[in-house]
Structure formats: structure tokens, C-alpha cells
Amino acid sequence: MRLQAAGVTLGYGDRIVVDGLDLGIEAGTVTTIIGPNGCGKSTLLRALGRLLKPRGGEVLLDGKRIDGMPTREVAKVLGVLPQAPTAPEGLTVADLVARGRHPHQTWYRQWSSDDEGAVALALEMTGLADLAERPLDELSGGQRQRAWISMALAQGTDLLLLDEPTTFLDLAHQVEVLELVRNLHQEAGRTIVMVLHDLNLAARYADRLVAMRGGRVVAAGSPHEVLTEELMREVFELDAKVIADPVAGTPMVVPIRPLSRP
């Protein structure tokens, strides 16, 4: 087990969002967390990436409490890309990606050939080498998202947590980003956990789906096991038909009508 939430309770202020949740992430898998708005999936991802400290329970990275590890050491193993990150104006793609090397740098050694190589490789893998000197704010939404993923890649971690990496992207760009994620998984053997809203894409690109509702895990398993008509009613309160995706053969959800509002 690479990453594990053991009875974690999470919340903001007085509000508890997730109460006593258990979840394990196997090495070398792509896990996608799905669920309705406000179900706690982003909160859970933030806790797995030690961006949010649990009220109770603990998050274990390779069997050790993540809170007890130096944050810089964690950053060499685990990368987190939050939802809709913002960069200062005028930051170039190369500069953004170079900042992914932060955990590997010390105040006396700011840049090494390792850094150089990792940045060049990350730019290459995301197809951004030709855009390296362009400011981020001149890029399209899809290119910008790839640049952020490229930064997370330059960090050189084999565990990658992505919070809604396809938000605000059109369908073609969503597929482009998810193909990139699949390549990272298949070619570089990275372990990936992401939150996605599009169920059909989630089913197509994940080894394992985790469905959440009200801060609890309702179902976890392969897309075929999880994405059923019954689950759609229970988790999303949606009357839907689940058929086989004619291209990938994975389950595909065709919505009919919401249960609560006939």
C-alpha cells in the first residue's frame, strides 16, 4: 500500500466533511475518486497530499505517518496538483516547470544538471518544449493545464495526486490531459490518484474507481464493479442507464432524470 487513509476525519472550521474514512491506494494504479459536489472528494485528496491536517485518524505514506515526515522529504515522493492553481502574470512555462524542482534544491545549490534534465524531460513528455519560453497566460486552457502537470512531473515523484485536472477544459483537451495521465502510468509506472467529474472518462482512464457520498466511501473497485445503475441512484440520485462504452468497453452512463426532482 503506497498511500493510505486510516480512519481520517476531515473538516474546515466547525464543519466536518469526512468522518472516519478508510482508503488504500495500491502502487502502480490509477485511482479516480467520483461523487456529487460537496461529497468530500477534494477534501480527501487534500488530506492524502498533506495539504489538510486530519482532525482524527492518520494518513500513511509507505506505512509511515505523513504528518511526522519532513514536508520536503514527502515532496520528493508525492506531488499534488490542486484544483485550478494560479500563477503570477508573466511566468513562463519553463520557469513554472523549473519550480517543480523546488524540493530538490537547497539555498546553496539552486540549480543542478539533474534539475536541468528533469525540466527538459517534463517539458518533452507534456509536449511543451516549443512553448517553453511563452508566458503561461498566453496559452490555451489545455496547454496551461499541461504546463501545471509538467511542473508536477518535474518534481520527479512517483505518486501524483490531481484534483480535477480537466476542469474548464473542452472534451478534446480533457481527453488530451487524461491520455497524458495514462502515459505517465503506463510508461513511467507512476501511481496516480485523481478527482474527476466526468464519469465516462473516469471509467475509461481508471484502474480503480472510488465513489463517495456524504464524506463516506460508498463503493470502491474496478469501473465495472462500481459504475452500476444502482450506484448512480444511490450516490448521484440519478436515474441512469449504464451501457458498454462502444470504443473502450468500459461502463458508460446515460442519464435519464434526477430521482429527487421528477
Binding site: E73, T86, G90, A94, R99, E116, A120
Partner: protein, 344 residues
């Protein structure tokens, strides 16, 4: 384009940044020469050199050694300090309109100086400056503590800015009330508020030097963390940066730099607001370059403004703070109009 072809281009970017740094250093050197030689009494460069290396007690020697050199040194220090502090402040608050006085440092210094004159009868310049420094530190600590109240996990840029504004307004009110009671305090305050590097001896330079050196070192140590923070707190944390520590170091550096500069030279915080906007087009968003560029531009700007102030209104002089505001304000307007405002 292959991975190997990207690397040389990344190299090229870094070499260009080194060249700009060298050019800015040269500009500061030129400004230093101007500041040492130009004034009410113009001293030829050769005589100035003699005065520094082999003084014989001539009038020129005395002017150079006891007036021009300390004044120039203080100008360099204050310019460096305010330029770097301004860039740090704008980086930490992600606000391009932040100035280094935002933490209440300027008003803290003013209040402590005025209060020391009225309550303790302080007379000497050195003593004023000690009180000014202490006031700056206390005000900044108060702002930091207030900014922490109610917030989860340390002060945020917004709570800091709000607390800083409140504390500044409060201290300004107290200072204004105090100077109405005492003529001597009013006189000191008037000149302090204009901002000047004139009439301070070498002892003042030595007095503020350690604070500025420590502040500059902390600022440079802070630069990589600030780069991470500028991508947002979540990204910074995921890159392994300790947010509270980075903010604490940054605030300490701003306090030391601004406190030393305003206690010794008066209210010159405008330098800190403008200079980062001049440095950013040269450095980009990387604070490891932005901070040194801002410091050097601040030093050059302050010296040149001081030299202009010495020659525009003979036989008198115009305070450097006045010159900076007079030439700086229209220049800032032009800058804002030419370039679109920068989001940080």
C-alpha cells in the same frame, strides 16, 4: 524539439540575467561616483580619489570624507533595503500595490521617535534612530500578532494588510496629536517625514548597517520559498515549503530593512512601491533575481534623486524624499499606462 535542445535555451536565459545584474551593479557604481562628486561644492573625480586614499586635510577632503561618503553610503543602504523590502512585500501579499510600510513599520518608527522626544527629551540623532528602529520592530510584531488572531494556521496576506493599515492609522493619529504639543518634536517629525539622507554622519551608517545586512541575507534566503508561495499556498506546500516559516522570515526581513531605512532616512517607502515595478520587466517573476535587481535599482534611484535634489535649487537643497516623489509619481503613472497592471 528534443529534450537536449531545451537545455541550452534554459542556459541562455540564465546568462542574460547575469548580464543584467552586472549592468545594474555598474549603474549603482556610476550613481555612487555622481553622489560623491556633485553637490553644492563640485569636487573633481581626481580630488575625490585623493580625499579617499591620501587625505591631506584640504577643504575638499573634509567635504568628501565627512559629508559625501556617509551620505552616499546611507543612500546605497537605504535604497537597497527599501527596494528589496518592497519586492518582498509585494511577493508575500501577492499585491502589486503593497509597499514596505504596510506592516505599520513606518508609522511605528515615527511614533517612537516623536514619543521619545516629548516623553524622554531625546536630543541626539543616533538616539532618535534607535527609538525609530525599536518602534518599527514593535509595530511590526503587533501587526503580525493581530493578523494571527482569528486566522487558522498563521496570518494570511489579507489579515496582515488589514492589521497593518489599522495599526498605521492608529499610530499616525497618536503621532499627529503629539507633535501638536511640542515644537521640537514637530520640527524633527517634519524633516523626518520629507525623507533625507543628508546630515547623517558615519556613526548613523554603522548604526543601521547590521540591521540591513541581516535583513538582506534573510531576504535572499526567503527568495526560493517566495517563488513557491507565488504559485499559491497549496502548491507551495506540495512542493515541500513550510508556509508559516517562509512568511515569518519574509516579515522579519521586511521589518529589519524598512525599519532601518525609515528610522535613519525618514519616510521613503515610496521607493519600495515603485522599484519592484522597474525590476520586474528585467527579472521576470523569479524572486531570486527580482530581489537583487530591486535592491540595486533602489540604490541607484535613491542616489540619483539625492544628487538631483542637491543641484536643482541652489543654494539650498531639496530633500531626497521630495525629489523621489516629484520625479517618481509621473514616472509611475507613465509606467502604469504603458504596461498593463501586473497580477501577482
Amino acid at each position: 524539439m528534443s529534450a537536449t535542445a531545451v537545455a541550452p535555451r534554459l542556459h541562455g536565459i540564465r546568462r542574460r540575467r547575469g548580464l543584467v545584474l552586472a549592468a545594474l551593479l555598474a549603474a549603482v557604481c556610476v550613481a555612487v561616483v555622481l553622489s560623491v562628486t556633485i553637490g553644492a561644492k563640485a569636487v573633481p573625480l581626481a580630488d575625490a580619489w585623493t580625499a579617499l586614499t591620501a587625505p591631506t586635510g584640504t577643504e575638499n577632503d573634509i567635504v568628501i570624507r565627512s559629508l559625501r561618503v556617509p551620505r552616499t553610503a546611507l543612500g546605497v543602504l537605504a535604497g537597497l533595503a527599501l527596494g528589496v523590502a518592497g519586492a518582498l512585500m509585494q511577493g508575500h501579499t501577492r499585491n502589486p500595490l503593497a509597499d514596505p510600510g504596510l506592516l505599520g513599520v513606518t508609522q511605528g518608527a515615527a511614533f517612537a521617535m516623536v514619543a521619545s522626544i516629548i516623553l524622554l527629551g531625546t536630543q541626539s540623532l543616533l538616539a532618535y534612530i534607535w527609538f525609530g528602529l525599536a518602534g518599527a520592530l514593535v509595530a511590526s510584531v503587533a501587526v503580525f500578532a493581530l493578523g494571527m488572531v482569528g486566522g487558522r494556521g498563521g496570518p494570511t496576506p489579507v489579515t496582515l494588510a488589514l492589521a497593518g493599515t489599522a495599526v498605521s492609522a492608529f499610530l499616525y493619529a497618536l503621532t499627529s496629536a503629539l507633535v501638536l504639543l511640542d515644537e521640537q518634536a514637530m520640527d524633527v517629525f517634519r524633516f523626518w517625514q520629507a525623507g533625507s539622507v543628508a546630515g547623517r554622519g558615519p556613526d548613523v551608517v554603522w548604526q543601521v548597517l547590521p540591521f540591513i545586512v541581516v535583513g538582506l541575507v534573510l531576504a535572499l534566503v526567503n527568495a526560493p520559498g517566495l517563488n513557491a508561495l507565488s504559485l499559491g499556498e497549496d502548491v507551495a506546500r506540495s512542493l515541500g515549503q513550510n508556509i508559516a516559516l517562509t512568511r515569518g522570515v519574509g516579515v522579519t526581513a521586511v521589518t529589519l530593512l524598512t525599519g532601518a531605512a525609515v528610522a535613519s532616512c525618514g519616510s521613503l517607502a515610496f521607493v519600495g512601491l515603485v522599484v519592484p515595478h522597474l525590476a520586474r520587466p528585467l527579472s521576470g517573476t523569479d524572486h531570486r533575481w527580482l530581489l537583487p535587481y530591486s535592491g540595486l535599482i533602489g540604490a541607484a534611484l535613491l542616489l540619483v534623486a539625492d544628487v538631483i535634489g542637491r543641484v536643482v535649487a541652489p543654494p539650498g537643497e531639496l530633500e531626497v524624499g521630495v525629489v523621489l516623489a516629484l520625479i517618481g509619481a509621473p514616472f509611475f503613472v507613465a509606467l502604469v499606462r504603458r504596461r498593463k497592471p501586473v497580477r501577482l
